[in-house]
């Protein structure tokens, strides 16, 4: 086998290809095909379970809104569905982004402190702490959220303590308020923040921080000049992993909030299953996806870590 007989390399599409030395032609060809074969299952999966349903969703969002299950739906390129969806549901749309953003911020603050402690200060407790971070995933999402209903109940100790401290009025409550919804979101998505942050922080060479001290940086300056910039990839992926599902979530709003806290996921769900208004539900879903995608692209651009995506 000689390298001259090789067909043009197929490896351009593969991000890892440049690591391979060009002399080993045989292994390069095998590597190329292997790459495509490795991509095949995921591509098929995506095609079947993402592209096709998404295609159907977009089609649905453009159906004639006067259709129904009795008469069927006609494709009339009804772009007005999008206008109507924004006009009717701009409040839950904005609310979703707002609650998702707040929850992400709280997750970042709480998660950073926690990940920092695990990475640098936990010593031999490191693994145990990591298991504890993931432990809530062993119970169902729904059960965890429902148990918050017990914790925050009007007659529960949290509310009574807050009332005793006069942080809440005598008639005050936590359930069915935005506080409970954002708290639920923060709780449920915290591990998505902690794990990538930990992965980034753990890789930082502690000698770099020592070096900053040698160069007369006090601990604050050292943190902001060395630790924080090096942990940015973790911050970016953590915030994305938290924000995206949090903004789309509706279980927390439904179980812990009142009708005045409903988020867009809940609206889509009730339009689909209760109102059978498929075009409006489809349009709203596409708007939400497009909006989040745009925000994510801008964010990743500005954060300067394109290589993450």
């Amino acid at each position: 086998m000689t390298s001259t007989a090789q067909p043009p390399p197929l490896v351009d599409a593969l991000p890892t290809a440049e690591a391979e030395p060009p002399e080993q032609g045989g292994s390069r060809r095998r590597g190329g095909l292997t790459g495509y074969l490795l991509l095949l299952p995921a591509t098929l999966w995506l095609l079947l379970f993402f592209v096709v349903p998404f295609y159907s969703l977009v089609a649905t969002s453009l159906f004639d809104p006067s259709g129904s299950d009795f008469r069927g739906y006609e494709m009339t390129w009804e772009f007005g569905n999008y206008v109507d969806a924004v006009r009717d549901y701009w409040q839950p749309l904005l609310r979703s982004l707002w609650y998702g953003g707040l929850a992400t911020l709280f997750c970042l603050v709480l998660g950073y402190v926690l990940a920092y402690a695990i990475a640098f200060k936990a010593g031999r407790w490191k693994n145990l702490l990591l298991v504890l971070v993931v432990a809530p995933f062993f119970t169902s999402f729904l059960v965890r959220t429902l148990s918050w209903k017990l914790i925050l109940a009007d007659d529960g100790f949290v509310v009574e303590t807050l009332q005793f401290l006069h942080l809440l009025g005598d008639d005050g409550r936590l359930l069915a308020t935005p506080v409970a919804v954002v708290a639920g979101l923060t709780y449920n998505f915290l591990p998505f923040m902690v794990l990538p942050l930990y992965a980034s922080l753990e890789k930082i060479d502690p000698r770099l921080i020592e070096a900053s001290g040698d160069l007369y940086a006090n601990p604050f300056v050292g943190f902001f000049k060395v630790t924080w910039p090096l942990s940015l990839p973790g911050v970016v992926s953590g915030t994305l992993l938290t924000f995206i599902p949090a903004a789309g979530d509706f279980i927390n709003a439904q179980l812990l909030g009142s009708p005045n806290q409903r988020m867009v996921g809940g609206v889509v769900q009730s339009l689909f299953t209760d109102a059978n208004d498929y075009p409006a539900a489809g349009a709203l879903s596409v708007i939400m996806m497009g909006g989040i995608l745009m925000m994510v692209l801008v964010y990743v651009r500005r954060a300067g870590t394109e290589d993450l995506l």
């Binding site: 995506l46 993402f50 592209v51 998404f54 295609y55 159907s56 977009v58 649905t60 453009l62 159906f63 006067s66 259709g67 129904s68 299950d69 009795f70 008469r71 069927g72 739906y73 006609e74 494709m75 409040q91 839950p92 209903k149 017990l150 109940a153 009007d154 007659d155 008639d171 409550r173 359930l175 069915a176 994305l240 992993l241 995206i244 789309g248 979530d249 509706f250 279980i251 909030g257 009142s258 009708p259 005045n260 409903r262 809940g266 609206v267 889509v268 769900q269 009730s270 339009l271 689909f272 299953t273 209760d274 109102a275 059978n276 208004d277 498929y278 409006a280 996806m289 989040i292 995608l293």
Partner: protein
């Protein structure tokens, strides 16, 4: 109605992968006229979309019902076991109906294109049953094979607008929608109006998330008749609800999880289904059920034979069996909803005399004097009203 659970969730990965999807989707929109995804009407003709009845040769029957809606099936003397012994029919019973809308979504594609759903009998609430009959998804029953149904159905459940002659449905159990409150936490509540306005109840009231349940009362509150109302009256009722929700009076719109909130003290009063309240009263005698001054809404969950069912005769045997007063009493003693069978009350004397005078199981004519039903809606109205409803209940 047994537990209502909400399904569905937004996929996380979906959002991350939108980029590729948008590109491909966009291209295909431009290039093709979106093939494969035109949605045809789901209307069927039950006289054409039917299967041959295999009941005589195949002694089996497949049933879908709500959870906890039958006496324990494994017991030797349970109504289901006795049915099997008596008829030689093997019953495949599943409790996979959790929510009318969800069940509809589950069977829509099959029934809408005349494909079998592999069930012979399913139990759905009036409005959903009416919708399916309207869509032509339900097989008519043979009146001569269900004589007990026609002889023994209680008077208040006869002559319903959507199927007055019982051509398609047989009520399985029936119930009332009214008000429940916790007497340890609040004084007596007499009317729905009080639920919506009393300031001491602010933020401690829930209403039901089924549109027809709640809006029937709102229509009554604005002076309309839920059996027959105009679009203007509907608008008035929905505006009234909008104001009440905006004022913060209503804590949530729920399925039957209201009963836990009522017991836990998170809410002090709510719109409620009768059977849930009876069961809660066993644990907490302070919980009361009231017939509001606006009246009571009477509904039933109905046995329906879907198109392409292959054991209709067996299903009709089942219906006829459960309309024997003795069997119905046995079922009612366990389920605690309103028993739809005349004569079961006398049989109950032998089973559990304490339930005989329970108005929520065997209501007398006076108690049901002022009950109402919800007007059947056509598909256009359904979509429009459900949208109004989801706008208001969803902020």
């Amino acid at each position: 109605m047994p537990p209502v659970q909400r399904g569905g969730r937004v996929s996380r990965r979906r959002l991350l992968k939108t980029a590729g999807g948008l590109a491909v989707g966009g291209l295909s929109i431009a290039a093709l006229d979106l093939p494969f995804f035109d949605v045809a009407g789901a209307q069927q003709d039950p006289t054409a979309c039917r299967a041959d009845d295999e009941s005589a040769g195949d002694r089996s029957l497949v049933i879908s019902n709500w959870p906890a809606y039958i006496d324990p099936r494994k017991k030797e003397t349970s109504t289901l076991q006795v049915f099997q012994q008596r008829t030689g029919i093997t019953v495949d019973y599943t409790d996979d109906v959790n929510d009318n809308a969800e069940f509809y979504a589950k069977v829509r594609n099959q029934l809408g294109s005349c494909d079998p759903i592999d069930r012979d009998l399913m139990m759905l609430t009036d409005w959903m049953a009416a919708r399916m009959v309207g869509l032509g998804w339900i097989q008519p029953l043979h009146a001569d094979r269900v004589p007990n149904l026609h002889a023994n159905l209680i008077e208040p459940l006869r002559g319903r607008q959507w199927d007055p002659d019982l051509s398609y449905h047989a009520p399985w159990q029936s119930g009332l929608t009214g008000i429940a409150y916790n007497a340890a936490k609040t004084g007596e509540i007499k009317s729905f109006e009080e639920l919506l306005t009393r300031s001491d109840l602010k933020g401690r009231v829930t209403l039901l998330s089924e549109m027809r349940d709640t809006m029937a009362f709102l229509l009554r509150v604005v002076g309309a008749d839920p059996d027959d109302f105009t679009p203007e009256q509907w608008s008035a009722a929905i505006e009234r609800l909008r104001e009440v929700v905006a004022s913060g009076q209503i804590r949530a719109f729920t399925g039957n999880e209201y009963i836990q909130d009522l017991a836990a003290g998170n809410i002090v009063a709510c719109e409620a289904w009768s059977g849930d309240v009876i069961q809660a009263q066993f644990d907490n005698p302070d919980i009361r059920f009231v017939a509001p001054e606006e009246g009571l809404s009477l509904w039933s969950d109905n046995m329906l034979v879907p198109n392409l069912a292959t054991h209709q005769a067996n299903a009709e045997k089942w219906i006829d069996y459960y309309y024997e007063p003795e069997v119905a009493a046995k079922l009612a003693a366990w389920v605690n909803y309103i028993c739809p069978v005349e004569g079961a009350r006398e049989e109950m004397e032998k089973i559990d005399p304490s339930l005989v005078d329970n108005q929520l199981i065997f209501p007398d004519a006076d108690f049901l004097a002022d009950t109402f039903d919800f007007m059947p809606l056509d598909d256009r109205q359904t979509t429009e009203y459900e949208r109004d409803w989801s706008d208001v209940t969803g902020g």
